[in-house]
């Protein structure tokens, strides 16, 4: 097996601010009380859902800058991404702030990708404060990848619900906060799943690959972490990952969980759970960070996965490749 690349950060950038904003359905989910802001409706005062998604990202950027007690001028670079074609939400949000911008795309793994890039920039001393922001919107993702909202179709039992929400954080060497100690950039892995409604199964091999790479490169095992958290494998995908890791002789115990699986309550009818770039971004920048602040977590391995397909590739019969990036956060 080809292993991913792990970078151990010498200076260990700190997460000095975090912010999360979600839609009303997400606000009623399992993490409702931890989010900084819950929107009253999906439109967020805009006349299209795309503009609402952009405004959500802008709100997340403003929010995190305020929480880190700085101004937007203190931000050296923003690393951001989303799910829309040509990542318009992030680019247009960056337009509003006049700060240098790096657009990244890793589908639902974008939060970890942006944080990994940002922590390397900060660790090398090239930038002082780097802002990371990622979001997704149910209604924009549905119409880009699937069907119109009002179409009377049924969702297959393996499908997941794209989270409406955005999360952001600021990495810096100065200030206080949990530290990013190492990052692993993952490979693109494709095990031939071609069901676009079964993202969990398509992405689980990528998570396996990055997880194995990370454990090998850092000489650690699942026992060394308080929490191992994947992004949006969902109920089915995380079960598959546990099986895949078992085959490799690595047993994921009670300290393993998945953001998508935990996101919604059972009665919210989301089948295999939450998904989307906003899924792990909002959980990480609310619940996980707050647990760190309380001192309940000491060391967390965060490895969101992304399915790197487009409607064109799947209509042309291509299978669904996945990618997974890992970061380790320590208190």
């Amino acid at each position: 097996m080809e292993f991913g690349k792990t970078i151990v950060l010498k200076n260990q950038p700190k997460i000095i601010g975090h912010y999360s904003i979600v839609g009303p359905k997400e606000g009623k989910g399992n993490f409702g009380e931890f989010f900084d802001y819950v929107m009253k409706n999906d439109c967020f005062g805009e006349n299209t859902f795309e503009k609402a998604e952009r405004k959500m990202l802008e709100a997340a950027i403003m929010g995190v800058v305020q929480k880190a007690k700085m101004t937007i001028k203190n931000v050296d670079v923003m690393v951001a991404g989303d799910l829309l074609n040509q990542i318009i939400s992030s680019s247009y949000a960056a337009r509003a702030f006049e700060i240098p911008f790096l657009g990244v795309y890793g589908a639902c793994s974008t939060m970890a990708e942006s944080m990994a890039v940002a922590s390397v920039l900060v660790d090398g001393g090239y930038c002082r404060n780097v802002l990371c922001c990622t979001g997704s919107h149910f209604s924009t993702a549905e119409r880009q990848y699937r069907f119109p909202l009002e179409l009377g179709n049924q969702r297959p039992p393996t499908s997941q619900w794209t989270v409406t929400g955005a999360g952001s954080c600021i990495l810096s060497l100065e200030g206080k906060g949990p530290r990013v100690t190492s990052v692993t950039f993952g490979k693109v892995v494709d095990w031939g799943v071609n069901d676009v409604n079964n993202m969990g199964a398509a992405m689980a091999p990528a998570a396996r690959n990055t997880m194995l790479s990370h454990f090998r490169n850092t000489n650690t095992s699942p026992k060394d972490y308080d929490l191992i958290l994947t992004g949006d494998l969902g109920k089915l995908g995380s079960e598959i990952l546990v099986d895949l890791m078992d085959e490799e002789g690595v047993s994921l115990g009670l300290n393993y969980n998945d953001c998508g699986q935990m996101y919604f309550k059972r009665e919210q009818n989301t089948l295999c759970g939450g998904s989307g770039a906003g899924c792990c971004a909002t959980v990480f920048n609310s619940y996980i960070m707050k647990k760190f602040e309380k001192g309940e977590y000491k060391k967390v391995l965060f490895l969101p996965t992304g399915a790197l397909l487009s409607t064109t590739s799947s209509q042309q019969g291509d299978t669904v490749p996945g990618v997974c990036h890992a970061i380790v956060i320590e208190n």
Binding site: F49, E150, L151, N153, P157, V193, A201, P205, E239
Partner: protein, 151 residues
């Protein structure tokens, strides 16, 4: 070669792991809602014939279809039809009301891209194939009918 085998094994494993849709409840709700829509259509047809005794059966059928299509579009706009579809599945897709829903829903969805590039272009994005297949099939059947009638 090794990867091919691994992928095949993995896909088989995933297939077994997938939660199955419960067939009987789905069929029951499909039958219930689909049947109700048909019953509604028959009711409208009978009422039309009762109210206007001098129209032909042919035109009563036409009016019934128009009314069903209108009601389904209205329910789509009000955000009700997709709720029915969630429960009924095929029961609300197969009747003409489902066809109406499949045209109305993208029209609403893509209104934001303007009348020409939004509504007009995207209107048939779901119903389009049905129309194409319908037209081709009827032409094919017409051709066969013509050939048979030659003898």
């Amino acid at each position: 070669m090794e990867n091919k085998q691994r992928n095949l094994a993995y896909n088989n494993y995933v297939k077994e792991k997938i939660p199955k849709t419960k067939a009987w409840p789905s069929l029951f709700y499909s039958f219930l809602v689909g049947g109700a829509i048909c019953l509604l259509g028959q009711g409208i047809n009978d009422l039309l014939l009762l109210a206007m005794p001098n129209i032909s059966q042919q035109s009563a059928w036409g009016y019934t279809l128009i009314i069903l299509i209108f009601v389904a579009s209205l329910l789509t706009g009000l955000g009700v039809y997709d709720q029915i579809g969630k429960v009924a599945g095929g029961g609300s897709i197969v009747p003409i009301t489902g066809f109406s829903n499949s045209i109305a829903s993208p029209s609403i969805e893509f209104k934001s891209e303007g009348i020409v590039y939004g509504i007009c272009v995207k209107m048939f994005s779901i119903a389009g194939p049905v129309i194409v297949f319908g037209t081709v099939a009827s032409a094919g059947v017409g051709l066969i009918y013509w050939i048979i009638s030659l003898f």
